[in-house]
């Protein structure tokens, strides 16, 4: 059988690998011709940086020498750029006029470096960093010494900078983004990298926007937007690559960013494959070698007759090849709402490790300073290994996974004293152990009080407990459950369960029956118990105002000087001339010093004297306004946009729906504050996707979101479900709120609750179980019967009058003199 003719345009690493594989699978099937625009054989482009820095020579990075081509019977045209593909005749023609016919064609034209179109980019002395010619030009330029500016602080730019410095140049790196290598590194690792690069004597300028390259015929410097000028004898642009698809486009193949290929790596012409950096598969283009080699394997199998071979993008890993800087990143390490992370920082050793988990599967890793476990992590990322068994010790690496029974204590014991345990408060291990020893501490609460470790977000509590146990030995027994506070050993969930099971209906009953260790609790447990009782026994339990935080006791927000702020409700953010006039009159009458518009679409009156509160409320009540509950662990605002009433993009009456929701839900007490918003279309002007509960109106109805946050933490919402009508929307939202009211721990925002109990369990209850949703909704409605009483009006009528007046006024001290 006559051999088929295979022509390859391009001679980089990807087609080289494809041919190797093809010769293994089908040694005699094809007669191969290669056109290489570069005048040389196939070499390892990844190793250009060691060539530039002088650690390797060109000969050492050749993959296929001339002998290989001869042995395989390949015709290699070096220095021949293909200028035309004639698909009907099935021929290719090179710039030197060589025309070769093909049965199968591989286009592997790679990519071109991006050249910033700034003034001066065409000057002599401005180079890119792409191939061996660029490296030779740089090495030549470096021989004269002088200064180099590298534009681009990504992988290639930093490698170029290190290489040029090794060749004796003074180097500045300009980077547009705030941190280096932002595509491979998170900001923390980018910062460590910048410090390491600068420690080598390379200047780094981030947020640098190149304005022009100066010089008349040769480059003399680079000027930034901010006016900074860096003198330069050499400028290297390493700002990215762009797939080289021009030849394919001219031949009429489908091209987007790159040459579009199907999973079988064939282009829109089945006789033509595209491979490597020029190809676009699954909407992505690729620049790292691993996926390109995967593509090569698929092309080889297809050519050998395996029609089932298919390419699917896998996680990739990057390692910075700069001597003395250890940096490794793999997989997908961007923040996202359904992901968790484990971070280890050891400032003294200059170590930073960050692992990104999703459902107990490792999906990304960034390692700095100690990258020894990089391949081990990468292997788990690719395999999708379930890491729940070794989660506690995962970040310490393979060495700590001794057997099935890895001891988490060993890992903590091995940490140096400088290792940071509490990121919020910057507390390292040594600080904790010495404080325990010096003060004789024996409990987590004491350690928190004296060191502040785990005293902020609490996510390092487990580690802190392990450090305590290391210090105290078995005499310290970390409780399996985190107690509510020092007054009890029971956790929030236990207490809530027992309140229902034992039908406990007052704070003293709880404290008695559950064995509280203090006489009347503390400022942590009493507000929590008060909330749990209100939630669990609506209409039966009488609110204990002395167990309320001051803001909820006097229905205003205490300020640092002891005055209060007052925020009346504005339903859905709507107001009127009458309301505004009443507010203005109140401001004048009580000389209120500051009036401010809040983020929740209402108006805040700041600096009101406590004694004035009832009179202020009385005036606001008379204009029809009630308390906005801006102080409450309860329903706050429902932000809206103008929706179909006014907006040309609005799909539903978002303002009207927001007002309905607010009128239905106001007064409700919840574990923590509850902020909502309704946006009339996916443009989301009401910012519903960072709220506790949000609604996005769409043509088909209402998308219901929840578990967003935009405070200490920032989380986009998750979609709970879709409703067709306003009534269904309100039912879902009320049921969700009730589930949160019943399950949430006091002060636990919705996003934390959702993370703890699992989004799926919430969807199951609200969306998939209509009967349960209805029961939750009914319980919410019942609780609202007792909740929707304006606290301002009650106090205007005389309730809690003692709160707003001093018991007495003395003309003392007369005797002071």
């Amino acid at each position: 059988m006559a051999k088929q003719k295979l022509v390859v345009v391009g001679n980089g690493m990807a087609p080289g690998r494809a041919l190797e594989k093809l010769f293994e699978l089908a040694p005699d099937a094809y007669e191969v011709t290669i056109f290489n625009a570069e005048p040389r054989v196939n070499y390892d482009r990844i190793m250009l940086s060691p060539v530039l820095s002088g650690e390797k020579t060109y000969e050492q990075i050749v993959i296929h020498g001339d002998g290989w081509y001869i042995e395989k019977g390949i015709t290699l045209y070096k220095g021949h750029k293909v200028t035309e593909i004639n698909r009907s005749a099935r021929t290719v023609t090179s710039e030197h006029g060589e025309t070769v016919s093909y049965d199968r064609l591989i286009i592997a034209t790679g990519s071109n470096p991006v050249i910033l179109p700034v003034p001066g980019h065409q000057l002599s002395g401005v180079l890119t960093y792409r191939d061996l010619d660029d490296v030779h030009a740089m090495m030549l330029a470096a021989k004269a010494g002088g200064r180099a500016v590298v534009i681009g602080g990504g992988l290639l730019g930093l490698e170029a900078a290190a290489g040029l410095q090794a060749q004796g140049m003074e180097v500045v790196v300009l980077h547009l983004m705030p941190t280096l290598m932002e595509r491979q590194l998170d900001p923390a690792a980018g910062y460590l990298l910048q410090k390491a690069v600068e420690a080598r004597g390379i200047k780094v300028h981030c947020k640098a926007n190149t304005h022009e390259i100066t010089g008349t015929d040769r480059v003399t410097g680079v000027r930034l937007d901010d006016g900074t000028i860096y003198p330069a004898d050499l400028v290297v642009m390493a700002v990215g690559i762009r797939p080289n698809a021009a030849l394919a486009k001219a031949a009429g193949l489908e091209v987007n960013r790159g040459i579009l290929v199907n999973p079988d790596m064939r282009t829109s012409d089945p006789a033509i494959f595209a491979l490597g950096e020029c190809a676009e598969a699954s909407g992505q283009v690729f620049g790292l070698v691993a996926p390109l080699y995967d593509m090569a394997g698929v092309v080889a199998k297809q050519l050998a007759g395996d029609a089932s071979a298919a390419f699917s993008p896998q996680a990739t890993a990057t390692k910075l090849k700069v001597t003395g800087i250890d940096l490794y990143s793999a997989g997908d390490f961007a923040d996202a709402k359904d992901r968790e992370e484990i971070v280890l920082r050891d400032p003294t050793r200059g170590v930073y490790k960050r692992l990104v988990l999703k459902d107990n599967i490792l999906i990304g890793a960034v390692l700095y300073g100690d990258t020894g476990d990089g391949p081990w992590f990468f292997d788990m990322i690719r395999r999708g290994t379930d890491i729940s068994e070794m989660r506690e010790t995962l970040i310490f690496g393979q060495g700590y996974q001794g057997g099935a029974l890895a001891d988490p204590m060993a890992a903590v014991a091995a940490l140096p004293d400088e290792a940071e345990i509490c990121g919020c408060n910057g507390v390292c291990k040594g600080k904790i152990t010495t404080t325990i020893a010096e003060l004789g501490l024996t409990s987590l609460d004491e350690v928190r009080a004296h060191t502040k470790a785990s005293a902020s977000c609490g996510s390092c509590t487990g580690l802190v407990e392990q450090v305590i146990r290391l210090s105290l030995g078995d005499s310290y027994n970390p409780a399996a459950v985190q107690p509510m506070c020092g007054c009890t050993d029971l956790g929030h969930d236990d207490v809530r369960r027992l309140i229902k099971a034992k039908e406990l209906k007052s704070i003293p009953a709880i404290m008695q029956e559950l064995g509280w260790k203090t006489s009347c609790g503390c400022a942590k447990c009493r507000p929590a118990l008060n909330y749990y009782l209100i939630c669990d026994w609506p209409g039966e339990y009488a609110d204990d105002s002395q167990s309320r935080y001051i803001n909820e006791r006097v229905h205003a927000n205490i300020q640092k000087d002891g005055t209060y702020s007052v925020v009346p409700r504005m339903w859905g953010g709507l107001t009127s001339a009458k309301e505004l006039r009443a507010i203005a009159d109140v401001v004048d009458k009580f000389a209120i010093p500051t009036v401010k518009v809040t983020g929740g679409q209402r108006i805040d009156l700041l600096g009101v004297k406590k004694e004035d509160l009832p009179a202020v409320w009385s005036d606001l009540n008379q204009a029809g306004m009630i308390s906005g509950a801006a102080y409450a662990k309860g329903l706050r605002t429902v932000k809206t946009c103008v929706g179909t009433d006014w907006c040309r993009f609005g799909t539903q009456d978002s303002t009207g729906l927001g007002v309905k929701i607010e009128k239905f839900m106001w007064g409700s007490w919840t574990p923590a504050k509850l902020k909502m918003a309704v946006s009339g279309c996916p443009r989301n002007c009401a910012e519903a996707t960072c709220k506790d509960i949000g609604v996005i109106c769409v043509d088909s109805g209402y998308e219901i979101h929840f578990a967003g946050a935009a405070g200490l933490d920032i989380h986009g919402t998750q979609v709970l479900g879709h409703a067709k009508t306003e009534d269904e929307t309100i039912e879902i939202i009320a049921a969700l709120t009730q589930l949160y009211r019943e399950q949430g721990r006091y002060l636990e925002r919705i996003y934390k609750w959702a993370k703890r109990v699992g989004t799926d369990s919430i969807k199951q209850a609200i969306i998939e179980d209509p009967a349960r949703r209805r029961m939750l909704f009914d319980r919410f409605v019942l609780s609202q019967r007792f909740a929707q009483i304006d606290p301002w009006a009650e106090r205007v009528a005389g309730k809690d009058a003692h709160e707003f007046a001093p018991i007495g006024t003395l003309s003392l001290p007369q005797a002071a003199e």
Partner: protein, 117 residues
């Protein structure tokens, strides 16, 4: 009258102070917080947290302590001292209860007007 002698002054009825709560007495030397604990005992402190001057009268009262509403320092009603790991003290005013009336020591209040230290 020598400095050690108290001069008692009536500031109001005991029953006007809520249990586990406080009331404020205004004076030229600044506000004084009068607390009534769960067990009925009455205490008076200068109404300023030693931390950042927060009004202790607005805090949650528990046992013989109060938690400042601004930053959660816990202050002993008996001594005026900050509890736990925090350090600081607010002046204490002697209290006497006579026939349901709350009496404070006027001389101790007068001393509040004298700058400390």
């Amino acid at each position: 009258m020598n400095a050690m002698t108290a001069e008692w002054i009536d500031v109001g009825a005991e029953a006007d102070i809520p249990l586990r709560g406080a009331r404020v007495v205004r004076s030229l030397a600044g506000d004084i917080a009068v607390f009534r604990a769960a067990d009925g005992s009455v205490f008076a402190l200068r109404d300023r947290c030693p931390h950042k001057g927060g009004p202790l009268s607005q805090g949650i009262v528990h046992g013989h302590g109060v938690t400042c509403p601004l930053h959660n320092w816990v202050i002993s009603l008996e001594t005026g001292e900050a509890q736990g790991a925090d350090h600081g003290c607010t002046p204490r005013i002697p209290v006497q209860i006579t026939e349901g009336r709350v009496l404070l020591d006027a001389r101790a209040i007068a001393r509040l007007a004298v700058p400390h230290g």
